[in-house]
Symmetry: C2
Subunit: 449 residues, 2 copies
């Protein structure tokens, strides 16, 4: 663990090694601006820039890149700017650097308690794309729909299947999510008779997303070997899904209202530089080999060993008890908690993802589609082997047929009103963690009609 | 036809009745800004506003809404602003109003020849959604894929099927479109073996799109009976599609790289006020009736009688001749043209569209998805009865099996490099037209690898 003069608790997701970017505001200074998380603090990058402390040549020439309510301008600058910013911030915050450490007045303006900030979306997201890159997930879903023999669709091993999501309904962690109404078919009448109802099969999807830095021009694909240069950083993504609405609407053009009511992301963008010590190769792709435009060097380390988990925290009221809970606190462990405590229902990892983010970028742009700074690409549900390896309830409960049990003794096939879904993820270093914090959202009852 | 002091040719799409909004620039004044088309001229709205001529109460309070390179701010203002702007512009440009007519200096600054302007995208498009609302189109595609008995999917008559498109690749009419490469399967080997190639089945899709004015908050659906208030205006849309790429990739999450390489729109947004005399009801929806959240009053006039056509104009070189062509000029008629002349391959109409734009808006937002000012919703391919009723080549050539013949004697199953697709559309009034102008794009060869 790199040593900082800012106190960093032992289990913090945000040691000096991390330095994730986000956008925040405070009650007394409500204008959203960029910051980096360090321990339990936030360093105000707009103020750091105004104080003249980002004095490297690249950022000096872009001296308003943090004077904005979103990170798009900084994202667009690319690796030279990111490397310079990281080097400068590592120095400013390192234990033996006195510029900020020893200037109480300056420090109190630039360094704020994380408990007092409100987080915002870190970027103006032009387009959002969601993939389907976990082989375990695609296989599980395929078995449920088509049986074990035909689990993977014929195209799945040849290309990273993806679809365009809805950018306007992406919300930052902490935003409540209202249960959607939509068309569902109850019963087995033929032909089917739909009704318009609140979804009874609201699900989470555990995903990791990446924000695009520099984009590409219309008509100019990004080669797979250059794709990593376009990745600004990573967040956790909960691609909330209403399975009953999805089942009825998705033929033939894919999910629409079953997904577009909300997508939550974690507020802190963890950079490739911070994740580099935890890079690993994806599972082998040799049966079949991808086509050349998707082929990476064998063993190329473009996945990351990120331990991911999802917990469901019931509202204390929904379990009939009056104990505290439902508020803050990180995801706990399963078994024996009192009501209102979170129960871990998924443990997964990005390392087993079959298609890598560079491959998704190469495929996305292969026909000439332009990516723009601030675009979000997400992995799709990340499932893996193991008893809690299912990345969504659809898989964990096998289509709602095998309820999962929470610590308070209650069961879930899908999410109930009042449930809070808490995703978290971190890389385990020797004596420290590089983490994402949380991506959290509570389910509100469907709106009155 | 309303009489204007600006000359309006008899067959113009832009008489005083129309007043469509667009964004333009000129060689001498390259900053894009809003304007309205009138005859062969463009009225510079930024300059009109700066001259103090938009003096009504709503626009006085929003006195920078046209000092921008996009129309989003004006779109967001809603009906009161739009009505005031239209009333003011109708007066300024009417034959008996001298303020501009008689002030040569002012007029020369504010009124520019349309031939000298360059058009831009009229809005920053946050999200783009494409529907599948023509029953004739869905039926034709269904017959090709599943036979006549099961042509329409079970959900099709219950909801306006739609999917999220790609906003970043929307281009304005006149932009060349590069043939995409992508994964395609040639031959019939089992299991299928894809290759990465330039699409050999590049198609157009004739659509009409609407730009959203005021949006809705996350979690707050727009009721179908209020949806029309959210429509700022309409454009022609060519949703270019690579059918061979689409066939292989679209299962199970819908079209992706087969569509996201380009979508062209016409530059002038025609308003509901201009189209009102041509409003008509959609086909009856009584077998089955839509669910209440989609139900409109019987006979409600929310479609429009817009005559739509598509012409293919081969490059003069591709037909082996050296005559002029391939440049400007409006779409001509079929039969007997010399090479390089356009041949009409589609004649359709918005009036037969089954699902209406208000229904699409209500469905889109039913689960709480927010629309934002400047979002684009498109109809999907508009096909209708009749010998040229197919809205795309996939239907017109029945999957490539029955080529269409162009005026130069050449045949097309799908588009060739050098072909220009020219869409146009207008409403026929008594002695005048309210039109959209053109949506045009030339196919460039696939990029070198």
């Amino acid at each position: 663990m790199l040593a900082s003069w800012v106190p960093v608790p032992a289990d913090s997701h945000f040691p000096l090694n991390n330095l994730p970017y986000g956008v925040f505001s405070t009650a007394t200074s409500p204008l959203p601006r960029p910051g980096v998380a360090i321990g339990d603090s936030v360093l105000d990058l707009a103020a750091v820039q105004r104080a003249g402390l980002l004095s490297g040549p690249v950022l000096s020439a872009a001296n308003n890149c943090f004077q904005q309510p979103v990170l798009n301008a900084f994202m667009a600058l690319g690796r030279p700017a990111w490397a310079e910013a990281r080097a400068t911030l590592l120095r400013l915050l390192s234990a033996d650097e006195g510029v900020l450490r020893d200037d109480v007045a300056l420090r109190s303006r630039l360094l704020l308690p994380r408990s007092e900030v409100r987080m915002h979306l870190p970027a103006a997201i032009g387009d959002y794309t969601d993939f389907y890159a976990s082989r375990e997930h695609a296989t599980n879903i395929g078995i449920m729909f088509r049986g074990r023999e035909n689990a993977l669709q014929p195209n799945w091993l040849h290309l990273p299947v993806g679809y365009h999501g809805r950018a306007s309904s992406i919300v930052v962690s902490g935003t409540d999510v209202r249960r959607p109404r939509g068309q569902v078919v109850r019963g087995t009448a033929q032909p089917p008779v739909p009704s318009f109802e609140a979804s009874a099969a609201l699900d989470y999807e555990l995903e990791v997303g990446c924000f695009i830095g520099p984009g590409n021009e219309l008509g100019c694909p990004i080669p797979v070997e250059r794709a990593a240069e376009h990745i600004f950083g990573y967040v956790l993504v909960n691609d909330w899904s209403a399975r009953d609405i999805q089942r009825w609407e998705y033929v033939p053009l894919g999910p629409f209202t079953s997904k577009n009511f909300a997508t939550s992301i974690s507020p802190w963008i963890v950079t490739p530089d911070a994740l580099e010590p935890f890079a690993c190769s994806a599972p082998p792709q040799d049966d079949p080999q991808p086509l050349p435009y998707l082929r990476q060097r064998p063993g190329e380390r473009t996945n990351y060993d990120i331990q991911l988990e999802v917990a469901i925290q019931p509202s204390s009221s929904s379990s009939g008890c009056s104990t505290e809970g439902g508020g803050g606190g990180s995801a706990g462990d399963a078994g024996g908690e009192s009501s209102g405590q979170p129960t871990v229902v998924t443990r997964s990892n990005l390392r087993t993802m079959y298609w890598t983010l560079p491959q998704m970028i190469a495929h996305h742009t292969a026909g000439g589609c332009p990516l723009r700074p601030g675009d979000l690409l997400a992995s799709g549900t990340l499932s893996c082997e193991g008893p809690l390896g299912a990345g969504c309830l659809q898989e964990a409960t096998w289509g709602g047929s095998r309820p999962v049990r929470l610590g308070d003794g209650s069961e879930r096939t899908f999410l109930l009103d009042g449930d809070t879904v808490v995703m978290s993820g971190y890389c385990q270093g020797e004596g420290y963690r590089v983490g994402f914090g949380e991506c959290r959202g509570m389910v509100l009852p469907a709106a009155e009609l």
